[in-house]
């Protein structure tokens, strides 16, 4: 088997099984039906995220569902958000994220450990597909974006396979990077490339770009150039991702040998867990002036 064949086969193993797919559909239906109970046929409720972009990987996925209300809705964005949240709380355990209400207790035996469902409430802007989303944190209370543009940007990029491979690399090496940032970065890194179908060559190109450019990246929301998405990445995260890419390239070397790629994707061991290849994340208490620190996780050594 060549390295390229290995990567292609690896991606095939990352297709969701029929059972996993059925679970996703059942969850989407359950949440949709539950929202319709309260809000009727008004909101447009549909899949979003990696499910729609085709970038899901079986090792690690979640479900994103948007719930967009018509532009004629007279409630404020905050009120819409609160109403959706209050309704979901009647049936689920909810965590409020920046723009989504996260359902954490709708699971099944086939889903990954960190599986959750993000419901993103929003309101359409008149005569467009654009929407306003409520943003719970930060300077701005609302964000204008466009789901269709996001999906098309990824789907039409020709980079879906490489994106899936990059996600798998990040997951199996414990690299903390927001998925949508990684997706956009891969597309940018491969812009103009004629070899997008060659996984090995393309992924190496992405790794080199991550190593050389990730710490200075400027990524813009393809649906709204006012949203500078790279601002969401902390300097320490940028350094860590660049370092991880460098270490991966060191492992692969110039030879592109199959065994090296297997090491990178932790395929050579049969331990049932993908121990990180990359150096550990910097100390959690690394502090920056006025940017605070990452707090320690609480833990009861005695069983509570």
């Amino acid at each position: 088997m060549t390295s390229e064949e290995f990567l292609q086969e690896l991606l095939e193993t990352q297709e969701l099984s029929a059972e996993q797919e059925n679970t996703l559909q059942a969850h989407k239906k359950e949440v949709t039906d539950f929202l319709r109970l309260e809000f009727g046929s008004d909101p447009k409720i549909k899949y979003a995220g990696s499910r729609e972009k085709g970038t899901m990987i079986a090792d690690q996925y979640d479900l994103d569902v948007v719930c967009y209300f018509p532009n004629t809705d007279t409630r404020s964005l905050k009120e819409i958000r609160e109403d959706v949240s209050a309704h979901l709380k009647k049936s689920y355990i909810i965590q409020s994220k920046a723009s989504a209400e996260r359902i954490t207790n709708l699971r099944g035996s086939t889903v990954p450990n960190s599986y959750h469902i993000d419901v993103v409430p929003g309101r359409f802007i008149e005569n467009t597909d654009d929407v306003f989303l409520h943003v719970a944190y930060g300077d701005k209370e609302r964000m204008q974006t466009n789901l269709k543009v996001h999906i098309n940007h990824i789907v039409n990029s020709g980079c879906v396979s490489v994106i899936r491979l990059a996600k798998l690399w990040a997951y199996r090496n414990n690299i903390v990077i927001k998925t949508f940032i990684l997706e956009l970065f891969v597309v940018r890194a491969l812009t103009g490339s004629r070899d997008k179908l060659n996984l090995m060559k393309s992924f190496r190109q992405v790794l080199e770009a991550l190593r050389d450019e990730f710490d200075t990246l400027q990524l813009v929301d393809p649906a709204n150039s006012n949203n500078i998405l790279s601002q969401l990445v902390q300097p320490s995260e940028k350094i860590m991702v660049a370092q991880a890419a460098k270490e991966t390239l060191d492992v692969i070397g110039e030879s592109n040998e199959l065994a090296d790629w297997q090491v990178v994707f932790r395929e050579e061991d049969d331990k049932g867990y993908y121990a990180p290849l990359i150096s550990p994340i910097p100390s959690p208490s690394t502090r920056h002036p006025n940017t605070g620190f990452t707090p320690h996780s609480p833990h009861c050594a005695v069983i509570c």
Binding site: A98, P112, G272, S283, S285, P295, H299, A301, I303, C304
Partner: protein, 232 residues
């Protein structure tokens, strides 16, 4: 506590009563946590908040005491008055002290000697913020370890050294039900597989249920074999 620590405390929180082995008093603070950047910041006068996030104000009556129990923790015990003492809020159900940090991660507050100010800033204040957040949202604001030995294995997986392997082994071997399930895994000749039932009460596949615990177990097993650590 050093004299410098005492001076710092009396300047910052003058209402605190400081005794030889105990500090007590009321604390008022504002702090913020941004779940995206995972940064925490206590907002004080002249603080420029570059964190954003959920800003909360709180007032608590607390006590910090030298431990004289048999806890695994070497840090002082934090007690918070008038907070419901439930496991989800991370209170030790035996002595009601706050479970601020995993014992395997305490070194940075204890070396080269106990660092009171860091302990106060980076464990006490965030723990109290966690209580405020929990009251509002009914969940902890940031990542929390699983309770008991399962969580100790998770913490060990983050920093797997020989010294921590011994410490972790000591902690988990004292938890009877967990140890009954974990010991055979550590001693078995074959590798620990991802589909092994999780030692937590859910018994789901460990790879899905507590993947970091699995990672910790694998590392611990490696240390036991390579360094010939005696398994109790």
């Amino acid at each position: 506590m050093t004299e410098k620590d005492k001076a710092w405390l009396s300047k910052k929180y003058p209402q605190f009563e400081v005794k030889a082995e105990k500090i007590s008093g009321e604390i008022e603070f504002t702090a913020t946590y941004n779940e995206h950047t995972e940064r925490f910041l206590q907002i004080e006068e002249n603080t420029i908040d570059a964190v954003g996030g959920v800003r909360l104000y709180g007032r608590f009556k607390i006590r910090i005491e030298v431990r004289n129990d048999i806890s695994h923790s070497k840090l002082p015990a934090l007690f918070v008055d008038e907070i419901e003492n439930v496991p989800d809020r991370h209170f030790n159900q035996t002595d009601s002290s706050g479970c601020t940090c995993n014992p395997l991660e305490e070194d940075e507050f204890l070396q080269p000697e106990f660092q009171f100010q860091r302990y106060f800033r980076e464990l006490v204040i965030p723990f109290l913020y966690g209580q405020l957040f929990f009251t509002e949202k009914r969940h902890w604001p940031w990542f929390e370890y699983a309770h008991g030995g399962v969580g100790s294995l998770e913490a060990f997986s983050k920093n797997p050294t020989l010294e921590k392997a011994k410490e972790c082994l000591q902690i988990i071997s004292q938890e009877f039900l967990l140890w009954k399930k974990v010991k055979p895994l550590l001693l078995q000749r074959s590798n620990i597989k991802g589909h092994t039932p999780c030692p937590c009460p859910k018994h789901d596949h460990i790879r899905r249920c507590h993947p970091h615990t699995l990672k910790g177990l694998i590392k611990l097993k490696e240390f036991i074999l390579l360094e010939r650590i005696l398994v109790p």
